[in-house]
């Protein structure tokens, strides 16, 4: 045997003599050991820890003092936040935020009409909760509410005026007509054979008539309720027209984000499918659109929308000032969304396509029923990331003169009523809190979804 021992040490790889016994470690568990292991394990590590602690110690107490201890919480004008008027060091001027809060939310929207914005906010919140909270039932109705009913009602409520009311009247007539149609169809299966395929009908016919076409009926009923309520509102309180030039603040920020989301998702799906298509012209056009839009900054797209869109349409249809950036943002977000969804489509194994084809499904049904649901589910985190980017990018409309939330903050900073040395720091902190809460909330949601989806994949 040629074991490496002390006896054959000239040929061994091991030490020739035993080491000195080391003192027992002071502790291997507990806070002191943790601090030693994690903070002061070596010279570089110790230095890093000290530098970091120095940064924390020099910045955090000052921030706390500025934003909380020395802050001014109430007052009606700049005198409340001036150090020589108050007679003590003054920190953040929260009184200014409280005073201007309405302006930050509504912009210059007429005070008497702000309840309309509130209704839209409530509907928006309702739609968000409906879609994002797992336990809420009727998800498909929720989708319909968020992606169809909400945009229509927001348009009618926010803009108002004769056009919107006429549009509302039309919508009610169409919904009632659809309702009547579904009623007739559900009691007359023979008629329904024209409406939907015989295969689906076979399932439906086993049900009693009042339960047939349950889902479309639910959608129609919901729209009827929403439109009816709005018609009552318009009748009792009236919906005078509020020009988009008066809109501002969080309303506009949320509006741009919502429009971007509502339009970019379907458009992105179409573009992604186009890019994966085997038809060369469709593929080429999709690729050109996606690469072109992704290759230029959003600002240039906004400039293009702002200056060139009016040139491209006849003078009499010149788009509204707020509509132009909306178009720009939606197209821009769609290109990014398309790439995210393409990633999801590429992740679907070929077998899924082949399985769908072997069932005899056409391209449309294959995508709608088999591929897209899986692909979209995979890329939910990516979609949410795009939304976060989109939400942050809404601030850029400031540059083309739209009064979004950030612009309203900037506008109040130059207003002499509240111009103090600390107003700016307060305003930016408030804006930062708003954007951080929205974006961080979205990213937390995406992480939770990711975890939930991963639960099924765990081995």
């Amino acid at each position: 045997m040629t074991d490496a021992t002390l006896e054959n040490s000239p040929y061994a790889f091991v030490r020739r003599e035993t080491l000195q016994q080391e003192a027992a470690p002071l502790s291997v568990a507990g806070p002191i050991a943790w601090i030693r292991a994690n903070l002061f394990s070596g010279p570089v590590n110790s230095l890093m820890t000290l530098v970091c602690l120095y940064i924390v110690v020099t910045s955090v107490p000052d921030l706390v003092r500025f934003y909380f201890i020395d802050a001014v919480w109430s007052g009606t004008n700049r005198d409340a936040c001036l150090a020589d008027k108050v007679g003590r060091p003054v920190g953040a001027c929260w009184a200014y935020i409280a005073d201007r809060f309405q302006y930050f939310v509504y912009g210059s929207y007429p005070v008497a009409q702000r309840w309309r914005v509130d209704i839209v906010f409530v509907m928006f919140a309702l739609g968000i909760i409906w879609l994002l909270w797992e336990r809420v039932p009727l998800k498909k109705v929720g989708f319909f509410f968020f992606f169809v009913l909400l945009p229509i009602s927001a348009y009618i409520l926010l803009l108002g005026g004769a056009n919107a009311e006429g549009f509302l009247r039309w919508l009610i007539i169409i919904t009632v007509a659809l309702m009547a149609l579904y009623l007739v169809l559900s009691f007359a299966p023979a008629l329904a054979r024209f409406w939907i395929g015989p295969a689906f009908l076979a399932v439906e016919e086993t049900l009693p008539p009042w339960k047939r076409f349950y889902r479309p009926k639910r959608l129609v009923l919901l729209s009827l309720v929403v439109f009816g309520l709005m018609a009552i509102l318009a009748d009792t309180a009236g919906l005078p027209r509020v020009d988009t030039g008066l809109w501002g603040g969080m309303t506009v920020t949320f509006l741009i984000a919502a429009v971007g989301i509502v339009f970019s998702l379907p458009l992105g799906v179409v573009l992604a499918l186009g890019r994966r298509s085997r038809l060369p012209i469709i593929q080429l056009l999709s690729v050109i659109f996606i690469e072109f839009v992704r290759g230029v900054p959003l600002i240039t797209v906004l400039f293009m929308a702002n200056t060139m869109l009016p040139l491209f349409v006849p003078q009499e249809y010149s788009p509204d000032r707020l509509l132009r950036p909306l178009v720009g943002v939606a197209l821009f977000a769609a290109a990014y969304m398309a790439e995210v969804i393409r990633g999801g489509l590429q992740a679907i194994p070929k077998g899924q396509y082949e399985g769908a084809m072997s069932l005899g499904l056409g391209y449309g049904s294959m995508m709608r029923l088999i591929i897209l649901p899986q692909a979209l589910r995979i890329v939910i985190p990516g979609i949410v990331n795009t939304f976060i980017g989109l939400f942050k990018d809404t601030t850029l409309v400031t540059i083309v003169g739209i009064f979004d939330f950030l612009r309203t903050i900037e506008a109040t900073l130059v207003d002499p009523t509240w111009a103090t040395p600390t107003t700016r720091a307060t305003g930016y902190a408030f804006a930062a809190m708003f954007y951080f809460l929205c974006c961080w909330g979205m990213s937390r949601y995406s992480i939770s979804v990711e975890k939930r989806l991963a639960a099924g994949q765990k081995r």
Binding site: I281, V296, T300, A432, C439
Partner: protein, 397 residues
């Protein structure tokens, strides 16, 4: 057997309506027709509208006198004698300047923060996490406003400049530093620098070959550093120190002389760098986490210490994961530099799509040129990064 059916089964001739090939052609033709119609109507409307507004079309404005001045310019430009075409180049160079410096700085900061987030040091990793979370969840425009309006604007005016060591002054007009003046003999120093760089490359190749043959390692980094710094320094002293500085003079009301770095540039650079670094940090972290733990353990088992493990084993493998998203972050930084228009840094968008567009009214041409520039930058950058990516990619059989 006599009962073989004589009639063979005809292949089902479905109606042309259901032939996927025909359908494909029809769809594509329809799409083409729609796109062509859209382009045609947009173009004809644009011509009509431009005629109604009496705006000239074409690129004739390129040689017209500009009549405005730009504060930061890398090439000569003046309100009196320069044209819109020169304004375009001024803006383009400013964009490239801020983007290239921003890319370098944000790469360093991003790598540092990304590695720091994975550090076993609890305080360091938590600070890095807070940095990343805060930076990534706030709009860049807000951050630019913050740096420009809340940090750089409240600095004292020129009379009360903050004097930093080395004749550097900080005030609300920016950072004023000694302006280096190069004598004619300075060329020799430049040549020496390039010679040193070439020598360093040669030495690197030689040492690599030596290491492959004999296993002996040379201190590459130190020797390269010594060559690149030492040789030009020696030449500099032999050439009689051909470098002098134009020092800023603190007058009674103003600072004169020196090199002025404008606050708009500083704000944009800080904003872009810190913002992009937050994203790069996450890319780096994801890349390092993607390298399996076994690789580190194997390196440790071979007796490599933490430093060489990171440098020789982990980072090269992580780079494969890092490079593609890193590329898109570089592109984002370049595109985001267009936000300069919000704080008045004279980049391409501010000078060209802002001022020139306002003065000439030629929206179509100006916006098209701007977009073409950014598209070109994007395509060229991704081309180079793809080549690099291909070189670094895992070669699989």
């Amino acid at each position: 057997m006599s009962s073989i059916p004589t009639e063979t089964v005809q292949p089902g001739r479905a109606s042309l309506l259901y032939d996927p090939k025909i359908r494909g052609y029809v769809y594509q033709l329809a799409l083409l027709a729609v796109v062509a119609f859209l382009i045609w109507s947009a173009a004809s409307n644009a011509i009509e509208n431009l005629r109604a507004q009496k705006i000239a079309s074409g690129f004739g404005f390129w040689h017209n006198a500009a009549g405005f001045d730009v504060n930061q310019k890398l090439i000569p430009f003046s309100a009196s004698g320069s044209t819109y075409g020169q304004a375009f180049y001024v803006g383009l160079l400013n964009t490239l300047l801020v983007a290239s410096i921003g890319i370098v700085l944000s790469t360093f900061l991003g790598f540092f923060v990304g590695v720091a987030r994975l550090s076993p040091n609890w305080v360091l990793s938590k600070l890095a996490m807070i940095y990343v979370e805060v930076i990534r969840n706030l709009p860049l425009l807000l951050q630019l406003f913050f740096w420009y309006n809340a940090v750089l604007k409240p600095l004292p005016d020129a009379r009360n400049s903050i004097a930093l060591p080395g004749n550097i002054f900080l005030n609300n007009r920016g950072l004023i530093m000694p302006n280096p003046q190069f004598g004619p003999a300075f060329q020799a120093v430049v040549i020496a620098f390039f010679l040193a760089a070439a020598a360093a490359v040669v030495f690197y190749i030689w040492s690599k070959k030596q290491q492959e043959r004999t296993g002996k390692q040379y201190p590459n980094g130190l020797i390269t550093l010594a060559l690149i710094i030492g040789l030009p320094l020696i030449v500099y002293f032999f050439a009689g120190q051909p470098l002098s500085f134009d020092l800023p003079q603190q007058g009674r009301f103003n600072l004169t002389g020196g090199l002025q770095i404008y606050p708009e540039f500083v704000a944009l650079l800080i904003g872009l760098t810190t913002y992009t670094a937050g994203f790069i940090a996450e890319v780096v972290r994801a890349g390092i986490l993607a390298v399996s733990r076994g690789q580190t353990e194997a390196a440790n088992a071979l007796g490599l210490r933490a430093g060489p493990t990171l440098k020789l084993v982990v980072i090269p493998q992580a780079m494969r994961v890092i490079i593609p998203p890193l590329t898109s972050n570089y592109l984002n930084l370049t595109k985001n530099s267009s936000l300069a228009v919000a704080i008045g840094y004279p980049d391409l968008v501010q000078v060209f799509t802002g001022t020139v567009l306002n003065q000439t009214g030629q929206a179509v041409e100006v916006v098209a040129i701007t977009m073409a520039v950014y598209l070109t930058i994007s395509l060229v950058t991704s081309l180079f990064m793809n080549i690099y990516n291909k070189r670094m990619a895992l070669v699989e059989r």
